[in-house]
Amino acid sequence: MKTRPLSVLVLGSGPIRIGQAAEFDYSGSQACRALRDQGYHSILLNSNPATIQTDTGMADVVYIRPLEPDVVEEIVAAHRPFGVIATLGGQVALNLCVELQKSGLWERYGVAVLGTSPGSVQRSEGREDFRQAMLKIGEPVIESTCVDNVRDALSFAAVSSYPLIIRPDYTLGGTGGGVAYDIDSLKERVAVGLRLSPVSRVLVERYLQGWREIELEVVRDKAGNRLCVCGMENVDPMGIHTGDSIVVAPVLTLSDRQWQRLRSSAFRIVDDLDIRGACNVQFAISPDAKKYAVIEVNPRASRSSALASKATGYPIARIAARIALGSLLTEMPNPVTGTGSALTEPAVDYVVVKFPRWPFEKFPGAEYSVGTRMKSTGEVMAIGLTFIEATLKAVRSLDLPAGILDPFAGHMSETELAGELTEPTHRRLWAILELLRRGVPAAMISEKSGIHPFFIDQFAGITQAFDVLKNRGLEPGLLRRVKAMGISDTDIASSLCMDWKDVRQKRLSLGIERGYREVDGCAGETPAESGYYYGTCGAGDDGMLPDGREAFAVIGSGPIRIGQGVEFDYCCVKAVEALKSMGKRAVMINNNPETVSTDHDMSDSLYFEPLTVEDILPILARERVSGVFASFGGQTSLKTGLALEAEGVRILGSPSSVVSASEDRGLFSALIDRLGILQPLGFAVRRVDEGLERAAAIGYPVMVRPSFVIGGLAMRVVNTPSELGPVLAMALQAGDGQSVLIDRFLPGVEFEVDVLSDGEEVMIPGIFEHLDPAGVHSGDSVAIFPDVSLSPSRREQIADISRRIAIALGVRGLLNIQFVLSGDEFYVIEANPRASRTVPIAGKLTGIPLVELAVRTALGESLREMNVAPGLLGKVGPFGVKVPVFSTEKLPGVDALPGPTMQSTGEALGVGSTVAEALSEGLRGAGWKVPLKGKMLLSVADRAKTESAHVAAAFHALGWKINATAGTAALLKNWGISSGPVERGKTLISRIASREWDLIVNIASGAPAVLRDGYKMRRAAIEASVPCINNLSLASALAISISIRSRARDS
């Protein structure tokens, strides 16, 4: 007799935001796989549609719904799971689990909380509880106090000493934290922290300037068996958020005695907290290493556990899931080698460096300071034989325009450079290298920066190598040495003012090539066959067993950054799965430790390497790859594909002919013209004066954008010639020698399609309709799928245009096309011959395996052979509404006004049988808390005042109280809608900050002064977490959604 498998609910982590990137897609996916392996039925809840875990290939039942108590209750009532796993979905899942524990939901439905208990979670996460627990077991903590008001913070300060650090309770990535150096900054920081903490509580503690920060990833089971999977050392000292620190593994500067002391302490802590699963313990250690203190404990899988997993090959989340289900570490085989024990601590014979990726290029207005608030959106990891090699590889992986030799620091004064030591920004490493180059003593740099002298000496090794190189040129012995250090051909070339190809030639002629080594978790002691490799120049290759299958490589998307989120990792993983299912050997190349694609058992072989031509080519040779997929990893990968093709590599689906024809806007323009399709009038220019001339001919407003963009970097709508000059100069610089396009800016509604083409026929799963007006980057726009407002003939028009473009380009695979419907005509804005941000959404809503089909078309199958009916698919699934999520609360100084430059870090998807339902779900999924009835503030620019009356009327009818700024209020009064007028200025800002309104509708005018005024409002709204809408169509849609929900509730 067959029994129904027991089901387990897994809580995901929601949209990607700063402090919570793809690492929880990785951990949740591992949980689902572990459940499946153990014969359980997994039910996954996550509002983030771009993830692998929300694919039915991972979980048995997937709910793309908001992570909210009522949603969990519905699911629990329907499925009656026997347990819930909440420790693999980050802080969001953990908080939700604790909340539901308190409300008694788990008990009511008899759901067991698996893994670390909610009681233990509260003890580790509630600052005061934790402090008490540590004092009880004699573990030193940092002198601190927990306050719920500013006054108490001040009295603590009176008996302690500045500087003090402020950490709000229960917030992501340390949001709202900061260092106070005096009474005024303390007042301010505490007030902000209290507001951002969901429990209105902050910890004020002594700030240990210059102490080192060490993290341990510990795994413990219910019987108390435990191991430390990995120790990690922050190169940056205390005071810099670990998410924003350069991190090295294993710990390099501690003696065995010092290290064991921390390790034993971590074990006492996890024993006391009764951790059952993964746990991250952070220590501060004094400069002389004589004293240490526990900073915090994360009783769950975290960003660091993802890093530790990738650094050692030990799959922490999977083992944690097994432990949650009751397995013991002493019973499980070693997950890396397959033999031996899961309790064996990983040993490594390499060094791993993690480097943060900051989004500052997207936010010219942001404060670039790096400190207690995490600001990076993602990170890269690199593996090398030495710290220097790993650091150089990490910097290469960041995909920055100039890499380690970025000349900007050379132009800075010594004072400016020294400023980076005490008030660091994302450029600190470069400043240190420059100071060393100028002969500033390492000891002084170390003392000022708080970075351990060991690391400064290591950095000095880098500058010395370049110095020697400059003096001696390409001597064979020296070349061998600098290559073994990890310096790239490109960097050698640029320091010698040579062509990198000549350096490569010379190197190859000397036989200096990369060897690949397996990450085996045991430092070579036992065979592992993990298929997980890293390359190093000048050392032997581990060798590889030949495999009869034809091999294909997939280029990943690198660090999570704005414009290149987890959706591309989804596409890469699906491509790898498709290749494997077709009997091919799938080779994955990527450098992001947070992702599923860098799980070594997803692909046949994984190369954790920078995504540069020099790093990729030898992999392709070693694996005897027949072709490379560069169209699934987003723009970076596409660009890399072009460069690889120039080296004779076969690029599948999107060869350079296709990429250039669509991405080089001049070429693309010509093609569109030839096809007789409309496009915004535009020109490619290479000089500012040329641009001004062309713009005058097109007429303002114009849209300015460079070729080869990620997330619309440097795209701008410009209204006047005086504005155009500087914008154009910036865009030309960002385009790096490419031309910049100036288009007539067309107001209207935007649409977007993902087209699957076999070169002769196309299939379109549906059309995305954007709610935000044209000019807002598609990634930042609320979008409905499938569209709601197009007539059948208009849909056919889109399908027809799409087909013609796809066929003319010769795409074999996926093509994303964006349209604007302006007046009565569709204009094509752009076409990208690659998997787009929306592919996972279209795929999940329609159930069509778009990526798999794209892989198969690229390998030669036709739509007909795959039984895919051509044309635009009729509506087959529910409605979906994609809602972008911004992390602007983490980035002081940044305006939240959407525009052509993408700013969102992630997205949520709402799914429903009606658009109203889907929108409401989407907004909730994105973290919006809009009540059915409440109080709103309207502040609308003149051009939109008339339309705003509709919105006001709709909310008014729903019983909302309305306030409006003077002009708007006057207009509403004329219509007969009563609204309390409010004065602009400081009072308004403080009223926003005190969360007087539940919703703000702010339609900005283009005038700089008004923009500044609106900026303060928007910023206040962000800081106070008040939903702020910047366009009327979304406001109207929200009104509809609320009215339907109210009706549903009343009936």
Binding site: T253, W259, E345, V348, T386, D457
Partner: protein, 347 residues
């Protein structure tokens, strides 16, 4: 810098750089990433050429106050990247040269480790290129070389423990003293009478280098103590104890050397991570009839990690409960041994 080479007895070679000097010995590797000064100063490495699998060695210098013995015992050290850190003491390089221990850096240690893991620990030499053949061999058992020559007393308020120094790690001494013991450290060739003349509450057979089966006198003395006094054993001490009880030992292919070995206490089911350094192990089938039972097992290869004989008040572990380098997760062995000493003989 001189071009150096490592030549194994099977004819394979590895190259690196050094300051000259040569040595011959068994080539073994350790996978621990911390504690290079403690490893090299562990007398159990006497007669061996130690290869570090972790590439960056020397990061913080040598913490001289926490060594396992006053000097390096490995005959030579082979590593990947030599770091010149001095934050905790003299640089590793300088310290080794003080004792004329050859150091070879820049070696592709991973391929060497991978070779040893299949070929087994082999004899080999370290020398300037071309001079391998002329490196003289070693003679005699290394225990004689590393053991204390005369008794030494360390006072403490607690139980008196006679520790036999076959190449004793300072860490074991430290753990006993930390627990208040009065420790009498005795040379490896001490007789039964000499040992018992200190009127100890227990005898601890310590760690040490080399093939235990060759230590005939030591085994005989241990056998004569069986049943006369509570006895503990650590590493080589366990092996001597097993041999004294009539069991036998065998050579592992390449040994256990590192700080990450998972061990389970079969009596409680509790698992923990241990520090290990041994090339030989007790043959399980040979325990039959000795009165010894297995208490601990290696979760990796299943080899014996702990034995006891309740009849004769004997407890011994193969791993290093004192860590150093490595974890002390299994340090409860000391409690077990000391409580045995406190209780005295069960009969």
């Amino acid at each position: 810098m001189t071009e150096m080479e490592i030549v194994l007895e099977d004819g394979t070679t590895w190259s690196g750089l050094g300051e000259g000097g040569s040595a011959r010995g068994e080539v073994v590797f350790s996978t621990a990433s911390t504690g290079y000064p403690q490893a090299v100063s562990d007398p159990s490495f006497a007669g061996q050429i130690l290869v570090f699998a972790f590439p960056m060695i020397g990061n913080y210098g040598v913490d001289e106050d926490l060594l396992e013995s006053p000097r390096p015992w490995a005959r030579a050290v082979v590593l990947g990247s030599l770091e010149k850190g001095t934050s905790l003491g003299p640089s590793f390089e300088e310290w080794l040269s003080r004792f004329s221990v050859p150091l070879v850096s820049g070696v592709d240690t991973r391929s060497l480790v991978r070779h040893i893991r299949t070929a087994g620990a082999l004899q080999g030499t370290v020398s300037p290129v071309g001079e391998a053949a002329s490196v003289p061999g070693n003679s005699g058992h290394p225990v004689a070389e590393v053991s204390a020559k005369s008794p030494e007393v360390f006072d403490g308020p607690g139980a008196t423990i006679a520790v036999i120094d076959y190449g004793l790690k300072q860490g074991i001494l430290r753990e006993l003293l930390r627990r208040g013991c009065r420790v009498i450290k005795l040379p490896h060739n001490s007789t039964r009478e000499e040992i018992l003349s200190w009127d100890p509450d227990g005898v601890l057979l310590g760690n040490g280098p080399g093939d235990p089966a060759l230590l005939e006198t030591e085994i005989e003395v241990a056998a004569s103590l069986l049943g006369a006094i509570p006895i503990g054993g650590i590493c080589l001490g366990l092996q001597i104890m097993a041999l004294a009880s009539g069991a036998s030992t065998f050579k592992l292919t390449f040994g256990h050397r590192g700080a990450n070995h998972a061990v389970v206490d079969l009596r409680t089911g509790r698992g923990f991570v241990t520090s290990q350094n041994h090339g030989y192990a007790v043959l399980e089938t040979s325990l039959a009839g000795t009165g010894m039972e297995v208490t601990h097992r290696n979760l990796g290869d299943g080899s014996i990690e702990g034995v006891r004989n309740p009849e004769q008040s004997v407890v011994a572990v193969q791993y290093h409960p004192e860590g150093s380098p490595g974890p002390r997760d299994g340090e409860e062995f000391f409690e077990e041994f000391l409580s045995l000493c406190e209780r005295g003989l069960t009969r």
